[in-house]
């Protein structure tokens, strides 16, 4: 039932192609795209590229989560850090991080290092902002209660502020997963010999639109599954919180 809108969309796509309403040069039929995706999976050709992409995205994402939570907590607890960092963050936030890829390549080389750096930077922002907001909006009652039960100011951060901010942090991390995939693909468009972005770019370059779309669909499914796994994991680990989704 949940898949109904998707099935409708794909059926419309296929019907538009087979009826000649949508020429092949504009959009290849869904059946062609699906069969190529089947071949890519069956031959195993797509898997090394998936592994390369996941390694880059995963590295950038992990750096962003660890760094973002630490920075967000620090900003929330230390006024001076907030004053120093907040204007920079707010300036960087609306900048499309993909536009910085060429610059990072000049600074850090054209290898994986620059790609991981761009992904980490792009993922960092939603995590920092979510952590900061979460840590700042901790209910005074909880802080008072902890202090009255013997928690020192230093320990307050670990015992109360971090766990209380976790639901918001979790939401920021979820955004970062999607951003990691978006920036990953863009970074692989430029100077890569492996990865799903590289595949999309190289198929597109030789006019193999059906193969290009096959990889795009594969990426969409991959991103969807990552999000589902993440949410399922959260529900298990944070069963104390009533999630809205």
């Amino acid at each position: 039932m949940r898949l109904l809108p998707l099935v409708l969309l794909l059926t419309t796509w296929q019907l538009a192609s087979s009826s000649g309403l949508l020429p092949k040069s504009v959009l290849p039929p869904f059946a062609d795209v699906a069969s190529i995706l089947g071949k890519l999976l069956a031959s195993g050709e797509i898997f090394p590229h998936t592994a390369a992409s996941l390694a880059r995205a995963g590295a950038g994402f992990l750096i962003a989560v660890v760094g973002g939570v630490a920075l967000g907590l620090l900003m929330a607890r230390v006024r001076a850090v907030q004053r120093a960092i907040e204007p920079i963050l707010l300036l960087i936030y609306p900048v499309p991080k993909t536009a910085l890829i060429p610059l990072f390549m000049i600074w850090l080389g054209i290898g994986d290092f620059s790609k991981v750096t761009v992904i980490a930077l792009a993922c960092l922002l939603p995590v920092v902002v979510a952590t900061f907001n979460g840590a700042r909006s901790v209910d005074d009652m909880l802080l008072w209660s902890a202090r009255a039960r013997g928690t020192s100011e230093r320990r307050l951060l670990w015992r109360v502020v971090l766990p209380a901010a976790l639901p918001q942090i979790a939401a920021g991390v979820r955004t970062a997963i999607a951003i990691a995939i978006i920036v990953l693909v863009s970074s692989e468009f430029i100077s890569a010999e492996t990865g799903l972005g590289y595949l999309i770019f190289s198929y597109g370059g030789v006019g193999a639109d059906d193969a290009m779309l096959a990889v795009v669909i594969y990426l969409a499914v991959l991103g969807y599954l990552l999000d589902r796994f993440y949410l399922a994991g959260l529900r298990r680990l944070m069963s104390w919180h009533a999630f809205a989704h």
Binding site: W144, S145, R147, A148, T151, M238, S239
Partner: protein, 209 residues
């Protein structure tokens, strides 16, 4: 006033001493029960009750024993592994009371702890608090807007004036309120209730005028 003794606020003048030592900040010697929403949502009933003990560094085994004892004290057997969001308001306040008592405070500070509960639950928790107070004979500083609650629980009742909040009068309850419901029929109970209500009413009307 409660928050001054709790050490959350600083007095504008004068000082507050507990056993001769001035109060400089919050501490586990003064246990506080808030109106509501003071439990840690990420900890179970067991985790919440044991929180203060863990902060004090009480070893796991000893902690577990004290927690079990306090779970029984507030009649929450079977709910040890539930999270606060899975409990009713009355149960949450019972956990908060157990959490505070488990720290063995010298004074118990209670800020309208039953104010947000329905009338029946409030009555039952008042009985439980009185029973626990009799057992421990600890000093309890209890803030309430409910005159009946004040008479049913307090041995010394302090009426505060409306803005600025100063002590208006201090009354001593001259009769005993036993654990049963018989106190309802004691004539002195109704008389004291009426006496205090009149005093409070003056303040309410003074603000309104």
């Amino acid at each position: 006033m409660l928050y001054l003794v709790g050490g959350f606020l600083k007095p504008t003048s004068g000082s507050i001493r507990l056993h001769g030592r001035p109060i400089t900040g919050p501490g586990p010697d003064r246990g506080i029960v808030f109106q509501r929403y003071s439990l840690f949502p990420w900890l179970t009933v067991r985790g919440n009750i044991g929180y203060g003990l863990q902060e004090k560094g009480v070893p796991r085994k000893e902690r577990s024993r004290i927690v079990d004892e306090h779970v029984r004290l507030v009649h929450l057997e079977g709910f040890e592994d539930r999270y606060p969001r899975e409990l009713s308001g009355g149960m949450q306040q019972r956990v908060a009371l157990a959490q505070t008592l488990a720290c063995q405070p010298e004074i118990l500070l209670m800020d309208e702890p039953f104010g947000a509960l329905d009338a029946q639950t409030r009555r039952l928790l008042q009985d439980e608090l009185r029973r626990i107070w009799r057992r421990d004979t600890k000093t309890v500083l209890f803030v309430t807007h409910d005159v009946e609650e004040a008479v049913a629980l307090g041995t010394r009742i302090v009426v505060m004036s409306a803005r600025p909040g100063r002590i208006k009068e201090v009354l001593t309850r001259g009769f005993d309120v036993s654990d049963g419901d018989e106190f309802e029929t004691i004539p002195e109970f109704s008389a004291l209730k009426l006496r205090i209500w009149k005093s409070v009413k003056e303040e309410v009307e003074a603000v309104r005028a």
